[in-house]
Structure formats: C-alpha cells, structure tokens
C-alpha cells in the first residue's frame, strides 16, 4: 500500500456551498484590467471586448459538425457563434500557452474560462508565462460538464455522463476573471466512482498488482504526446522527452520509455496540475492519467498543504520549500 491519506483530502476546505447557492462575490483582484460585468451575457461581453478594439480574438466554443469545438472569433459580428453548455469540456487556456505562436499572432486574446480553466490561467500567470494584461478572461459559471464534447445537443448531466472531475469542484464561479457571465449553477450529480475513490482502490492493492495495472496501461501508450500538447501547463519550449543528447526518455513506443515518459509527465505537473482532465480526454489509448494527477495532488495537499487554485499570488509547491517540510522518509 502507498501511504494512505485522510478521507478529507477529497473535500476542499473552501466551501462550495449547498447545491444551487452561489458563493459570495469574488474580490476584484485585478481592477486595473477592466470592471467586472456581472450582468453581461457571453455574446454581449464578447462583442464589447472585440468592439473596444484592444482584443484581437475571443476564444470560446461553437457548434461543430460533431458537438462543440473551440472557436476563434475575430469579428464582433460573429459573436453569435459562441455557445456555452455542458458539452464545453475543452480547457481553452491551452491556447494561451506561449508555445502557441499562431494564436498569439491573432492579437490580444479574450478567453472563455470555466473554473478549472481559470486555475490553469492562474498557473501561467504564477509562472510568468503570461502577463495579466495580455489576456481578458471571461468567466462562465459552471455546474459541471460532460465527459465528451461530441453530442449534437446539450445534455443534462447524469451520474454516468458527468465528468468525474466535476464532483466537488471548488471553483464553480471563477475568481480570476474580468467578466463573469451566466446564472449560478447547481451541483452536478455524483459519479458512480469518484476520482479519489479510484485512487483509493488502487492504493489498497498490493504493490505487485499496482505494478501490473500501470505497466499494462502504459504499454498501450503510443507516445503521440497528445497529453502534453493539450495541457495548458506543459509550457517547456523543448520537452525533455524530445531531447536526444542525452536521451533521458526512450522515444520509441516501448514499455521502458512509456514508463519514463508517463512518470515524468505526471511529476512535472505535480502541484501545478489543475485537474482539468484534458490529458486523459485527449489520450487516444484511454490511459487513466487523471489518477496519476490526482495521486500527486493528494500528496501535495497532504505534505505541503497546497491545492492548485486560481490565485496566481500563491506560489506553487515545487520550486518553493519550507524549512520544516516533513522528511520522515529521509534518514
């Protein structure tokens, strides 16, 4: 067994409120970037920021041929294309990633963010990958999303269809935004098995069975790096997995390199991952990457008392330290 964590790890200390009740209004942390507009609707806000002229592109969601897809709206006349509903699973903050020069070429971006997406934006700000004045954040109140985006119609969330990560979300109403749109949302249904329950089930297995489980999972990795490409916080210009002199991570789709890669990906996101679940959604082999992410999030919380939130002023735990960090594993 790995070290057990208390059950309370699951429950954020930040109260999410009873279903249907909104949290108190968020403080204006960035008044210099524009007034918050609580009354605006998504189309109105998008039109306003595009008309004012200081925003080149609004990144949101639109209807595609199979469900919703990311949309890049550059003209105020096109804002009617934008939608937000339970199919809007994509974390669009990944387009703010400094690796994406083609998006930056469209000009200053306004991005529609759910709570989890806002945490990713906070991550980029925290790590100086983005300046606050480079982006306008349009927050949407979110009551959970589906696991998949490719439905023709918005669907109500059921325990079977809701994304498990949305259970006990602590950020239904993002704080770190310039505009906030939409009505307060109700809590989504509880999935049959939460992410924490899946991690706990693995924790209880003998180590040999965990090894069997993970090596079987990793053996299906095709090393397409979709998990890395979709991740809003995988920001390295040159990834260690792409380096060949020396080659730390074998580049072939072989179990030895797959193990190194998946350990490295998870570890490089420890204390940074906002658990938007995009890596797992993008994975063509269906690896349960969120379990690795959650395990590390539990460890980070347990050991360093840190939860990745949407306040960029709180330093991330890796790259920071305390003199009294526990070291019971060091002799």
């Amino acid at each position: 067994m790995t070290e057990p964590h208390d059950a309370a790890v699951d429950a954020p200390e930040v109260a999410t409120g009873a279903p249907g009740t909104a949290r108190p209004a968020a403080p204006d942390r960035y008044p210099e970037t524009g007034a918050r507009d609580e009354t605006g609707d998504l189309h109105g806000v998008a039109r306003e920021v595009l008309t004012k002229g200081d925003v080149g592109v609004v990144i949101g969601w639109e209807e595609g041929r199979r469900g919703v897809r990311p949309a890049f709206v550059t003209a105020a006349d096109d804002v009617e294309r934008l939608v937000f509903d339970t199919r809007c699973v994509h974390n669009l903050v990944t387009y703010l990633n400094p690796r994406r020069a083609q998006i930056a070429a469209l000009g200053r971006a306004a991005v529609v963010v759910k709570g989890c997406d806002a945490k990713a934006a906070a991550g980029l700000l925290r790590e100086a990958q983005l300046r606050r004045d480079q982006v306008v954040l349009i927050g949407v109140r979110c009551g959970g999303v589906l696991e998949v985006a490719d439905l023709d119609e918005p669907a109500a969330l059921t325990p079977e269809t809701v994304s498990p990560r949305c259970f006990r979300c602590d950020n239904r109403e993002p704080h770190l935004v310039d505009y906030l749109v939409g009505e307060p949302q109700e809590e989504p249904p509880r999935p049959p098995q939460t992410v924490d329950e899946r991690v706990a089930a693995l924790d209880e297995l003998p180590a040999a069975e965990r090894w069997e489980f993970w090596t079987e999972q990793f053996s299906r990795c095709v090393r397409c790096y979709a998990c890395r490409q979709v991740c809003p916080l995988c920001v390295c210009e040159r990834c260690v997995a792409d380096k060949s002199v020396p080659q730390w991570i074998d580049s072939a789709s072989h179990p030895r390199g797959n193990l190194s890669w998946n350990l490295t990906r998870a570890l490089h996101l420890a204390g940074r991952c906002v658990e938007c679940g995009e890596c797992e959604r993008a994975c063509p082999s269906g690896l349960p990457l969120t379990l690795l992410n959650r395990k590390l999030a539990q460890t980070v919380r347990h050991r360093f008392g840190y939860v990745a939130g949407d306040d960029p002023e709180v330093p991330a735990p890796v790259g920071d330290y305390r003199l009294d960090d526990t070291e019971e594993f060091i002799r």
Binding site: T2, L259, V318, Y321, F329
Partner: protein, 170 residues
C-alpha cells in the same frame, strides 16, 4: 514474483546500487569512510553531482532502466547546502517522486534518501550497508528488467545491465 518487492530474491544475489550524491557533503563523507578504512558493502556505484538539487527523479528512473536494483540519493543536511537551498528543493521533489513510484508499484524500499555530511563517514557506511541488505532481501528488480528487455518492434532487446555495471564482487 514476490509481493511488493518487484523481485525474485535469490541466495547469491548481489544487488547493484546506484548512489547519486552531492559533491560537498556526502561525496566527501563517502571519501572519509574510505580513508578511514571502514568496511562496507561494495555494491554501490557513486555518481557525484554538484547538489541534491541537481538530481532529477528521472536519474532514478534511468538507473532502474539500466539495471540498478536500488538507488541511494544523499546530500547535505538541511541548513548545510553549499548552494543554500538545493537540498530543500530536493526534499520536496523526492517526497513526490517516492509517492508516485509507490503508486505505480515500485517498492520504496529500493530507494534510500539520506543526509550524510562530510564528517559522517560512519553514517555513510551504515546507509550503504542497510540499503544493500534491504535490496538484497527484496531481490533483483526483475519486474523492471523484464519490462525494459521486452523486444522492440525490430525484435531487438535493450542491452542493459552488464555493460554499465560489470560484475559486482561479492
């Protein structure tokens, strides 16, 4: 496969241990152990680095990949770091790596983390002897080796262990 240890455990098995140590404290401490003529197990190969803060957890993964049965990471005690804070950063990093490794089924007993100062030659001997005894009990890291040696698409296996370590003297 033995439960938890990832290995088979053999009578005349000599563990291969890779030690990643910092230049300023543990390497000097290990040197002191040598010049003091302390007896200790000869299974450890030391890789000297400027600081524990320089040690990427990927080093440990690579050591296992190349056939190590156990790994030691050792550096300056807290407040003693030559670079002020490298060991504090390492402490957080390895706390996370250890937990992640355990979660995917690598026995944490294959990894020793320690603080050994330049004057602690005897402690280095104890760290080495204890680690070798522990890994000897766990057995060779067969699970990892099997995984590494699976033939690739061209049917070739990865040449691993002997080239790096040679034979370990009993």
């Amino acid at each position: 496969m033995s439960q938890g240890g990832n290995g088979s455990g053999g009578g005349d098995f000599e563990p291969r241990i890779t030690a990643f140590v910092c230049n300023w404290c543990t390497y000097t401490g290990a040197d002191l152990a040598g010049t003091s003529r302390l007896h200790m197990a000869s299974n450890v190969r030391i890789i000297r680095l400027p600081c524990t803060g320089r040690i990427d957890p990927l080093f440990i993964v690579k050591a296992f990949e190349r056939g190590a049965d156990g790994v030691i990471v050792s550096g300056c005690h807290p407040a003693d770091c030559h670079y002020t804070a490298g060991n504090y950063h390492a402490r957080r990093r390895f706390a996370l790596f250890r937990e992640l490794a355990a979660f995917i089924g690598i026995d944490p007993g294959r990894m020793t983390f320690s603080w050994v100062s330049a004057s602690e030659g005897a402690k280095w001997r104890d760290v080495v002897d204890d680690t070798v005894a522990r890994v000897r009990a766990l057995g060779p890291f067969d699970d990892y080796r099997r995984l590494v040696d699976l033939p690739d698409a061209s049917g070739e296996s990865y040449a691993t262990v002997e080239g790096l370590f040679g034979e370990v003297a009993p």
